[in-house]
């Protein structure tokens, strides 16, 4: 029988037979490959125009001073000036970098623990499982913008429900989002709330993929519940955890909507307040680009964050693969 490759490239039975012999240099091109090119062309054209070209363009812009209006051939070349400016002189950008790291680190860490706990709970013998899981997953589908507004209302320092609840157990009202000390913590909390369900679903799928035999074997060897968790469940969930840590760190480093919705900005900027305590990189980049029209500088910020995400991803892959 001919291999799949031959079936596509040959059109007649005679050629099919000859393909078993020495390869011919000139084969007739199968008309089906034109169909294949036609089928992939929409995706290729769109990805070229809206992904591949833009990434090089973005780097190019980061080496120039540009206000989006000057024609591209005329934008002044400034070399690495945009990079030195944002890294050495832009305090807000450095603040934003630190905040973004803090946000991603705590958000992902908490959610790994909470998500695993939630998945173990939902995987155990309980009643009304679909009901509980619906509650867990509800925030995932809700727009971050809407969730930000919902939590802003709840966390209002004067008339929010959370302060009323705290008051009923004797805790004085907290300023939450209006305090530079607490605002970032509130944002992290909102992100945990929003994405914990995602971790639960992925962990659940991982848990259900572990064969019961392994637990039986562990039980025969005299392992108790805690031991079989540490020595069977956790090691077998490693690939799932790797996936969750990598994808969610990448996502968290790009946070925008939530901060935009839940925080106030300056006179001409959006979000990140109070006093830039919740400023994150993409938000600062948005302000730089679309409030002040400094495209070069904003592109440099994008490039820096892109490199940071790339490096962090590589480090995570390396760390989590090698800690066998």
């Amino acid at each position: 029988m001919a291999s799949p490759q031959d079936r596509v490239f040959t059109t007649s039975p005679a050629q099919l037979a000859s393909s078993a012999g020495p390869r011919k240099h000139r084969r007739r091109i199968d008309p089906k490959i034109w169909w294949a090119y036609a089928f992939i062309s929409p995706v290729l054209i769109f990805l070229l125009v809206f992904s591949v070209v833009p990434i090089f363009f973005s780097f190019w812009v980061s080496l120039h001073s540009w206000n989006l209006i000057t024609p591209i051939p005329e934008m002044p070349f400034v070399g690495v000036d945009n990079y030195t400016r944002i890294l050495l002189y832009d305090d807000v950008f450095r603040r934003a970098l630190v905040n973004t790291f803090v946000f991603a680190f705590w958000g992902v860490t908490f959610n790994l623990v909470l998500g695993l706990a939630g998945a173990l709970l939902l995987n155990s013998r309980i009643r009304w499982r679909p009901l509980w899981s619906t509650f867990f997953f509800l925030p995932i589908v809700t727009a971050p913008l809407a969730l930000g507004m919902m939590w802003t209302a709840l966390l209002n320092k004067n008339f929010g429900l959370v302060n009323a609840l705290l008051g009923s157990i004797g805790i004085p009202p907290q300023p939450f989002l209006s305090s530079p000390e607490q605002a970032l913590g509130c944002i992290i909390f909102m992100a945990i709330y929003q994405y914990v369900g995602y971790y639960v679903v992925v962990f659940l799928a991982g848990l259900q993929g572990i064969p019961q035999d392994y637990y039986d074997a562990a039980a025969v060897d005299g392992a108790n519940a805690r031991q079989s968790f540490w020595y069977v469940t956790l090691p077998l969930l490693r690939p799932v955890m790797l996936f969750l840590v990598v994808t969610n760190t990448i996502g968290a480093l790009q946070v925008f909507d939530l901060v935009f919705a839940a925080t106030t900005g300056g006179a001409e900027t959006s979000g990140g307040g109070p006093a830039n305590s919740t400023m994150v990189v993409v938000l600062h980049m948005y302000n730089t680009a679309f409030k002040f029209f400094r495209m070069g500088r904003a592109s440099a910020m994008a490039m820096v964050l892109f490199v940071v995400i790339f490096v962090i991803t590589l480090v995570q892959l390396w760390l989590l693969r090698h800690r066998e």
Partner: protein, 288 residues
Amino acid sequence: MKGLTGMAMRRSRLTQPFISILKYVALVSVSCVMLLPFYWMIAASLMTTAEIIRTPPPLLPAEPQWRNYLDVVYAVNIGRAYLNSIIVSALTVLGILFTSSLSGFAFAKYHFPLKNVLFTIILASMMIPFFVILIPVFYIVKQLGWLNNYAGLILPGVVSAYGVFMLRQFIQGIPDELLDAARIDGASEFRIYWQLIVPLSGPALATLGVFSLVGVWNSFLWPLLVVQDSALHTVPLALNNLRTYGAEERSLNLRMAGTVLSVIPSVVVFVWLQRFFRRGIALTGLKG
């Protein structure tokens, strides 16, 4: 052996009810936290401004103020925003489903020069975060004259590298014999795609569709940049307008009413199509 299992069982019989009570306590308290924002959103959306700023706030409105929802419609024209969001989401999702299944089919079932290179490029483009290409894409859309119209909202989003990957994986599982049989019957390649591959890819298309739908419906940053004309605002943009509409204590009920209106479709779609959604998440999670 027997003694050991017996001991374990005796212990578990003693601790079982205790553990199971603990489980339900945990489930109920977590559910309360998860539902708290949704409850407060609905309750506050029906309150008067006086009730909203009372401390401590009432847990339910004395008299539901359905008028608030009408006021939202006047304040930000949420009806128009709904229409825009429906048009944009429907066309974007249809675009994603069409382009993804078409090239997923090509990558799964044909052999052509540069196939692996092109597929690798598509996979690699999945790694490009949106913020990196935000400014160039904005510029390109501006040069194409798509600012402030549906094209700018829809077209940059009609291709999904992830969708191509997912559909290729799925279509690879469709037996080649079916395709060959159709060819012998004289079907063209496009007809094979349209009448064989598309119907057989139903489950994968449903999962991808639900995923993209929720993503597009909730998307905020891109519409915020592309659309200035309020007649073209999508629901998140209308909601954002409401966010800055009046002082917080005077308009919190309107904001929450707007939030309810914006959240309803994704929640309904989710509860209705949960299994596709969860399957999709599990699929992406296990591939790693």
